[in-house]
Symmetry: C2
Subunit: 381 residues, 2 copies
């Protein structure tokens, strides 16, 4: 099998498994317990917090552990905006955010907040001035993702932050950075954001763990109430083994990111060139340069993406059409529609996403299978 769906989820790194191991067995304590078992569990959590902070360029006290990236995005947006209701009534985001952001903003709309969902240019790269132009005196928060999950385009987060700060220095800025690490060097301090969401399983860590970067001093209301863990901002027993694994995953992702980019870019470029050779009217979704090296999203005119991936699956190749989180649904990807693709082209798009284990034989397998697959899919359409 050739797995080319690393943006949906990627295998756990062996180093991560090793780091989790003690906390799955002998050191099974609850990090809130005061006895030796609890203290060892707490130490593991704090070590992981140090590692995550070092990997994303924050202070450890600015890292909150959550149950995943979706929860981190929800907490960032709902937690700040409802907390700061008095300061304003307006939230800004973009039309191609992950649904964890988009649906949180929609929910805020249902709570009575005004929301602006910015259009996205065909490049899939948001222009900072467009964001700043939407910011008003009553804008509580802006949310723009760091890397798009479907088309892999990299957003100019630092420039967006600068433009938004000029427009309204009180507006908080959140970035969904779930697809950034391990494919982009991340430094939340250099970016200048107030909040950022991360997910462990996208970077070789376990599923069910995420983190929210919350800049010191940024007010936040919890969205989950209970035992008061994480300074009262995220209640619930800490997932000690998962958090320990996440820490190591971030550490490795940050260390390997440049080498990874250098290794994956030629593989990805070779895949694109091969696809265009086989399907001359294939169209790259999103900017060709300003995208992570691990992502290739292409529209295959005259074919259904669902049929393409099922045929590729039969040929031993795993990839996706639209984001994995939505592949159960039949609607065309909101990301591809946002960058101006027609419903047909959006439905006929494939996403190949590369990871640590990807090699030339994976690319070769796609290119070998594709001529017949595209022919069959076009005939079926």
């Amino acid at each position: 099998m050739h797995y080319l769906d690393h943006a949906a989820t990627t295998p756990m790194l062996p180093e991560v498994r090793e780091a989790m191991e003690p906390y799955l067995s002998d050191d099974f304590g609850n990090a809130s317990s005061v006895h030796a078992y609890g203290r060892r569990a707490k130490q593991a959590v704090e070590d992981a917090r140090d590692r995550v902070a070092a990997g994303i360029g924050s202070s450890p006290s600015e890292v909150l552990f959550t149950g995943g990236g979706t929860e981190a995005d929800n907490l960032a947006l709902i937690g700040t905006v409802t907390k700061l209701r008095g300061n304003g009534n307006h939230v800004v985001t973009t039309a191609f955010e992950h649904h964890a952001v988009l649906h949180s903003v929609e929910w805020l709309g249902r709570l009575g907040f005004e929301t602006t969902v910015l259009p996205v240019p065909e490049s899939g790269v948001i222009e900072p001035a467009r964001v700043a132009a939407a910011v008003r005196p009553d804008t509580i928060a802006v949310s723009v993702m760091a890397v798009n999950n479907e088309i892999g385009t990299i957003q100019p987060v630092r420039e967006i932050v600068g433009a938004v700060r000029d427009a309204n220095p009180r507006t908080l800025i959140h970035t969904d950075a779930v697809q950034a690490l391990p494919n982009l060097p991340v430094n939340v301090t250099e970016w200048g954001v107030d909040l950022a969401a991360f997910s462990a399983h996208k970077l070789g860590g376990p599923k069910g763990v995420g983190a929210l970067f919350l800049r010191a001093g940024v007010p936040l209301a919890p969205t989950m109430h209970g035992g008061g863990q994480e300074k009262g901002l995220r209640s619930g027993t800490l997932n000690v083994p998962g958090i320990a694994g996440f820490g190591v995953a971030v550490q490795i992702a940050a260390k390997e990111v440049h080498e990874r980019i250098e290794r994956l870019r030629p593989l990805r470029d070779g895949l694109l060139a091969g696809i265009v050779g086989i399907v001359p009217d294939a169209m790259l979704n999103g900017d060709g340069e300003r995208r992570i090296a691990a992502n290739l999203s292409v529209a295959i005119p005259g074919a259904e993406g669902e049929v393409l991936i099922l045929l590729l699956d039969q040929a031993g190749i795993a990839c996706s059409t639209g984001s994995a989180c939505q592949s159960g649904a039949v609607d065309p990807s909101h990301v591809l529609l946002a960058i101006g693709r027609t419903k047909e082209l959006a439905n006929g798009s494939l996403r190949f996403s590369l990871g640590r284990s990807s090699t030339q034989p994976d690319v070769d397998a796609v290119l070998e299978a594709l001529p017949k697959v595209v022919e069959q899919a076009r005939r079926a359409a």
Copy 2:
């Protein structure tokens, strides 16, 4: 080391680790992906859903997976009450609920709902008529825990449901069942509740996984927005290995519950008798009969619980004072205050909670260490 804090968290069962293994390695797919990796992941989730449903007496379609027990309690209460705002404005719970329930109800109070927090008798067993008497025509939901986490008392859930239904058949009934399995046979259908919260790590499953039983037809608004997993009621990538482990943990807990009760009761009774022999003025917290066999909560007059557990820890014994989720805090346990203990007795209480690995030598170790520990703690006070 003698671990007697199984109510805080309990080691993962070897069978659970085995069930998780494939999904931590080769079968690492995202359950939302349509390719073979995704389908295997989805199958694991559905198998686990079947196991959880069988273990709690529900239909599989009535089980939603969450990131833990706290999230399940939050979702149950906030998700139903905010959804049904039009139907009423009132919520009822009890003063000795876990903070996941109590703080969710407080938060509903801040949203404008009226809340009634019922007092708890010294027995730690809620009287159904008292609950029913608090139910009004505008009561949207009632939440009463199945087993108290600190004193282990078992609530007459079925009778409470009957009394509440008589008072207002439209009122929804939630039970925090996090401490029920593996210590009590659970059947949500026999109980007749509409919602029930469960946590994997309390019954030999992994941390970071829980479930909400949601009776078919009960309306619920999601508290987490995103990719629309779990029928749109709980977004976020499913924690496939954790869920697979949870399924097996529930299956084993349900299978072993009677044998477990028979095995742990004499151990616990021996521990109590031994403690009373050493500390004649020790007082059992909560009813002596209507409690799970795994729990012993005793007040040691004239001693500080924090000092007692640190001294016991030095003697190689892990137990807790108050619930683990709060042991970082210095406030006396709200549970013990609720059953009428003075601040001093609440602060001087110890909780020993037994688990699958507990044996007579654990009990003997406590009884051997206790005379000196109590003497030292009383001198320090």
